[in-house]
Subunit: 148 residues, 2 copies
């Protein structure tokens, strides 16, 4: 039985391991943990920005980040943005992702958000069906620009 809860500082190594254990993440994530700990502390100091983990018998098996963004557009709808979604490789296809998004949606509703949003790297073709099955519409194109 997986329990979703806000991440604690001691979860950082397990979260980074999940971020790295991924076809796209392997080459993008670093080995040292200092920057990750600093970012985790900064997230904790920000209102409306949370890292959530899924824990199963003491093991961190999933993670996502949830950010509430107040905005003016769409009749001043508050948005809940999901980022950095990962499920442990050996546990995929068992419904953990869907349970994780149910958790995210419950948190978003509790915070008064009227819209959930996320972007997915277009190379993750399988994930597209997953998100559509959860009721998401792929209506947007997501652009990124690294600032060197």
């Amino acid at each position: 039985m997986i329990r979703f809860r806000e991440a604690r500082r001691e979860d950082v190594p397990a979260i980074v391991a999940l971020l790295r254990d991924d076809a796209l993440g392997a080459e993008r994530e670093g080995a040292g943990l200092e920057d990750y700990y600093a970012a985790f502390d900064a997230i904790g100091a920000e209102g409306g920005n949370t890292v959530v983990v899924g824990e199963d018998g003491g093991r961190i098996v999933a993670t996502y980040q949830l950010t509430f963004i107040t905005g003016l557009s769409l009749r001043a709808t508050q948005r809940a943005q999901v980022e950095s979604v990962r499920v442990a490789t050996d546990l995929r296809g068992q419904g953990i992702g869907a349970a994780m998004f149910a958790d995210a949606e419950a948190r978003a509703r509790a915070a008064g958000c009227g819209l959930m949003q996320l972007t997915m790297n277009a190379d993750r073709r399988d994930a597209r069906r997953f998100y559509e099955h959860l009721g998401f519409t792929p209506s947007h194109t997501g652009f990124k620009k690294p600032l060197g």
Copy 2:
């Protein structure tokens, strides 16, 4: 000469007029301003969330929202997310959009962000070339889910 600055409360009606003066925005934005004022106040109370306006001789001619999001992924890169980009209909095609993104990028760099990101409704076909010209890569699919 357009000057970009943080929006003030008295700019809210002009900002909402820009949001509404748009092919997609016309049907999505409401007539009353109360919710917009409340959201503006909430944005001001959040760290790292800002509405910017472009002002030309006392007229608000452009607006965007810039949100800094601390995260763990991508080696704990801080992201600058751009949302709700608008230029007055009668002033498009004059480089205001590019100037606005230069302003956003300067703010993002000053805040230490390593990545800029935005999503564009896939129906805005002209905007795609605009963002690619500015150095953005359309690498992602953006999903939305309204919470009714």
